[in-house]
Amino acid sequence: MDWTNPYVNAGLKLIGINVAFVVVLMIVAYTVLAERRILAFIQGRLGPNRVGPGGVLQPFADLLKFILKEEIVPDKATKLVYFLAPIIAITAALMTIIVYPFGPVVTIPFTDISFPLVIARFDIALLYVLGITSIGVYGIALAGWSSNSKYSLMGALRAAAQMISYELSLGLSLVGVVLMSGTLDLYGIVEQQSGWFGLNWNIIYQPLGFIIYLISAIAETNRVPFDLPEAETELVAGFHTEYSALKFALFFMAEYVNMFTVSVLATTLFLGGFNGPGVAQFPWLGVVYFLGKIVFFLFLYIWLRGTLPRFRFDQLMNFGWRFLLPVAILNVVLTATVMFFFS
């Protein structure tokens, strides 16, 4: 078979996209279950454990329930935008899958077919992820506006303000890594971290950038302690108050896919991606390292949710603009200065 033929190549990419899609959605489904079980453990409860052994089939039961629930559309909602909003949210969340570097160049066992475990490599992969995720804000903003409910609108306004504010610190925290690597291609950035038996990670050179990125990423995904857009005690459920059945599920999935995306970025940019001891000898080990690091970040998210209280809105804005942004700029200046004099 001719691998360089554009049509064969496009077919392979389609297969890759479908496989990655299923993998990401399965991880998302089990993140939800893990979140419920771990939160229950933290709070001294049991959590869902009835569907299947230990509750492992719970995500599928939930999905079935979401599909079969009655769909309630508010009478005065702006229908077109109301239907469009969850589609924008989930599409923007899932479109980033194509640049995830899942693993190094691997060979399928017993054949000599080998390829890198990434769907698309291109010059601007990092900017692509940032651009697509910034489109995701519209899903939330339009959902809140079109529902014609004060809780939804307040949630949407908060979400939009928060995501614009923290996007700046998030972008600036990545500039340090980009300065060091000299490329925006995620796969290329991961490859550069393969020294020292796969432990030459960017976090060693960019500890400040990593911390800023982690905080901004949690704020970007609207998770505890930055979950003001859906603060239950004030806003019922925030921007998705008026959504039910599968549309609610789409927002829910979009949130978890976004968590996955920022975990992928943290892993690839700061924690060496698929690199680790032994990857050079056994390439498939890279996939294990990659997913293991992501599971660590997802656990961190759940852990934070179980332990931290919520910010007040003025604290959130003060923290973002008066502390995080200046520190992020300082990090860029420091990195640039050091790069200028020592390389």
């Binding site: 010059d123 519209y138 609108l153 306004l157 939009a160 809105f313 973002g320």
Partner: protein, 230 residues
């Protein structure tokens, strides 16, 4: 062949969305259409081998500026806008004339300039749109225009801030609240709504509450005084 199909698809999307921006009476639909225009333009840049420009187009225009526009529209009463009769009808014929002029210019370029340009593009197509070449160009050959543009944008930001804050400077809040409150205190409730923009306004709940209470007392006193005078 595929490039041509993509061009027709995205150019059609851009034109359709652009017409929708003008025709829509609902400002939010207009804004959403404008986002469509920006995304279609980004796709066209991609087919023209300028991925960096495409990404920046999406991040800056679709992802940041339009979010702010949508944000402001969300706070408006859209129903009122939809039902309001069209103002300044004289602008319609002027608009049609300008559109005809633009179409004429485009046709002129297509038929008289187009043939000679296509060769030079092919010659330089190798790395002209890549991120590193744009960065190198910006900071070496085009450094002066780049810096001047930065200064211009900075001036625009400072100007917008000073315009937005001018009324509040004039209010006697600072005099009333004494030294423990900044002039921005009254603005804080507004800033909470358009949060993020007026970053250095005072956000402390206590100061906001005190300022608002004092402002209310002041107004009440003024009203009482007026009533007594009458």
């Amino acid at each position: 062949m595929i490039t041509g199909l993509l061009f027709i698809l995205f150019a059609g999307m851009a034109i359709g969305c652009a017409i929708s921006v003008v025709v829509q009476r609902n400002p939010l639909y207009g804004a959403i259409s404008l986002i469509g225009v920006f995304i279609a333009l980004a796709a066209l840049y991609l087919t023209l081998a300028a991925p960096f420009i495409a990404a920046v187009q999406v991040i800056v225009y679709a992802g940041a500026i339009m979010v702010l526009v949508v944000f402001v529209i969300m706070l408006l009463n859209v129903e009122e806008e939809v039902n309001r009769p069209l103002r300044l009808r004289a602008l319609v014929p002027i608009g049609i004339v300008l559109a005809a002029l633009l179409a004429g210019e485009a046709a002129f370029i297509l038929y008289f300039v187009g043939a000679s340009v296509s060769e030079t593009i092919n010659a330089a197509a190798s790395n002209v749109g890549s991120t590193s070449s744009i960065g190198t160009g910006l900071f070496t050959e085009y450094l002066l225009p780049f810096e001047v543009t930065s200064a211009l944008i900075l001036m625009a930001i400072v100007g917008a801030m000073s315009l937005a804050r001018r009324d509040r400077m004039a209010t006697p809040t600072a005099a009333i609240t004494g030294g423990d409150s900044t002039p921005g205190a009254l603005a804080a409730p507004i800033n909470l709504r358009i949060a993020g923009e007026g970053a250095n306004a005072e956000f402390s709940t206590e100061a906001v509450g005190r300022a608002m209470a004092q402002e209310a007392i002041r107004k009440l006193d003024a009203k009482k005084q007026r009533v007594e005078e009458e």
